[in-house]
Symmetry: C2
């Protein structure tokens, strides 16, 4: 089957669609659980499936270092290695190099860095990033880009965006087209409308199966992020999926869907789950808090996940206090289920043209805890 | 239903039976997964069930400190709190006090100690231990005893065993009989046949629903342990279950079943799973070992667990190297499944009167890795 995206309904700028890939279909808007090193942390893949997730994300930077792309390929690719036959999107490695690696040096050819694990030297070019993602058997390959820092002057943002545009061209040339596989370009340009426009034009001239909006959620704040989405999303082709990278809180997701975004990824629900925090229909809870010690209610009465249907807040509090692994396991399960249900609810509301009311009701729920 | 034990088959001294309790039946010989603080570490209860486990063990010492017995009772008991409707055996707390607590002081009334967690002072008597286990809603309550240290002189072992016998009497008096619930006495007496006999006689005079053999696996070695089992097991009534506490390796289990033991518990399969070690039909593996880095075989080809049917040794090695929580989760799943299948195989072999051949074949497999 060919890779494709069907736009099925809109409600204002909000969109409901269907992404079709070699590894299955994904209803959008969708949240991609982050499986950094070939595992969604603290979750079996059966548990990931049970949250309603249809697509997961893998990190090129982590996987190229351990177990290495060649090793993943020998094991039959990332799908087989981690037991996730569904779609997988992989990032290009660029973002983690800038945030995690040591002695980073960027030039026209690519980026040279030392591993944060053992100090070993590596050189990542657009061509090598595409090769790695090919070896991983990634369903959706991301171009190598530079995530422009915030704040950046217009000159800095322009220079960075233009480098990313040249890398996007090289990434496209190095991408091996396969039936049902796709590649996404990444819009940069900082907080400058003209640069965002120039970036979109450059990427559309190349032509990708989807478009990511990069360089946001890097410190600019939600208001500025939403403003940039309002400017950028309408520049993108309506018939291709739009992916906002590294976002975010449930409120970020609702507001970004309202502005035309289809896909998200973020470590927030998984990381929060490992630090005792739960996202619920009644807001965010920290289960370490002593107020839960005798609370026999389910974590979220509106949730159908294993954590919420079988256990109490008091038990979760107990597990966390005792540093039992089951605590992070159950909270991660719940948080991912909550994120999925948020997107499922959004999609249904868009079809029924009541997306704004859905957001209002959902946000009101968060105030009721 | 009433608590009971049916002896269904024997092969030499090895026994196959059925334990009947208020919370369900347990085919014996059986291994009880250890759920110290109200969770089998790194496992959902669904995953515990999937290993074939029918009964789990809870630790009175841990639960009395956190979340406290009264709090467990308010949450509906341990079954409900941890989502394990099946049988639960709880120990008396005595063993962990001696191994974990600070400033332990033992006298006729019981044992005074300070919590290893916060230094708080506690006094555990036979009566309080029974009350705690009642509050936990334990299916099988253990008497409070002193686990005699090894080595101990005959005088020391005698004094210790006689204290345990007096506590067993008080424990029985404090036990609240309930339909389908039982209480086990614990045989002590060190490595002295005469003292073991005296202990058994004292316990049988009181009368319990089952008998545990305590004071073994405390440093005396497998040969001495087996010798003591050969002496002690025949002293016990044939129509009651026999439980060897805190044992052991797969080989310990096979040899102890051969000597008439029906029930076991040990942290070994769960603890090993969290330290990269796997018990398999081909022996013990340490998955941290670099020899597994490209090993695309299942951990144990003879095993039907999720870990072995979905993943490779190379992936497990990768997870462990990356310190991913899924590594301990999958290895714990496998190890518990292996222990259960070892007992299931033993039971089938006893029914077919080929238990010795089963042990020989199983031990031969361990040499083939």
């Amino acid at each position: 089957m060919s890779f494709g995206f069907d736009l099925l309904a809109t409600d204002g700028a909000a969109r409901a669609g269907l992404l079709r890939t070699a590894h299955g279909e994904v209803a959008t808007p969708t949240f991609m659980a982050v499986g950094t090193a070939g595992t969604v942390k603290a979750m079996t893949t059966d548990a990931v499936r049970a949250t309603g997730a249809k697509i997961v994300l893998g990190n090129t930077y982590h996987l190229m270092l351990r177990p290495t792309a060649e090793r993943v390929a020998r094991l039959g690719g990332l799908h087989k290695m981690m037991d996730w036959p569904g779609p997988i999107l992989t990032d290009s490695g660029g973002f983690q190099i800038m945030s995690l690696a040591k002695l980073r040096k960027l030039d026209e050819t690519g980026v040279t860095f030392r591993s944060h694990l053992d100090g070993s030297a590596h050189h990542l070019t657009p061509e090598r990033s595409m090769e790695i993602q090919f070896l991983l058997d990634s369903t959706i390959t991301m171009v190598l880009d530079e995530c422009t820092k915030f704040p950046a002057t217009e000159d800095e943002a322009a220079e960075s965006m233009r480098l990313s545009a040249r890398w996007a061209r090289r990434s496209r040339d190095a991408f091996v087209p396969r039936d049902g596989y796709g590649q996404f370009g990444i819009v940069q340009g900082g907080v400058y409308e003209g640069l965002r426009r120039e970036s979109v034009d450059a990427l559309r001239a190349i032509g990708f199966e989807g478009y990511a909006i990069g360089g946001l959620a890097v410190g600019e704040g939600q208001a500025m992020m939403f403003e940039m989405l309002e400017i950028t999303a309408p520049m993108l082709p309506a018939d291709k999926p739009r992916y906002l990278m590294g976002v975010g809180t449930p409120d970020d997701l609702l507001g970004s869907v309202a502005r035309g975004v289809d896909m998200f990824d973020c470590v927030m629900p998984t990381r929060a789950g490992r630090t005792a925090r739960a996202f619920t229909s009644r807001g965010v809870f920290n289960l370490r808090n002593a107020r839960f010690i005798d609370d026999a209610r389910p974590l979220d009465e509106a949730c159908g996940c294993l954590c919420c249907t079988r256990h109490t807040r008091a038990y979760l509090h107990h597990l966390i206090r005792c540093e039992e692994i089951l605590g992070p396991m159950l909270l991660t399960m719940h948080n991912l289920t909550y994120y999925q249900s948020l997107m499922t609810g959004a999609r249904a509301a868009i079809f029924e043209r009541r997306y704004e009311a859905y957001c209002t009701a959902t946000r009101a729920g968060w105030q009721e805890s």
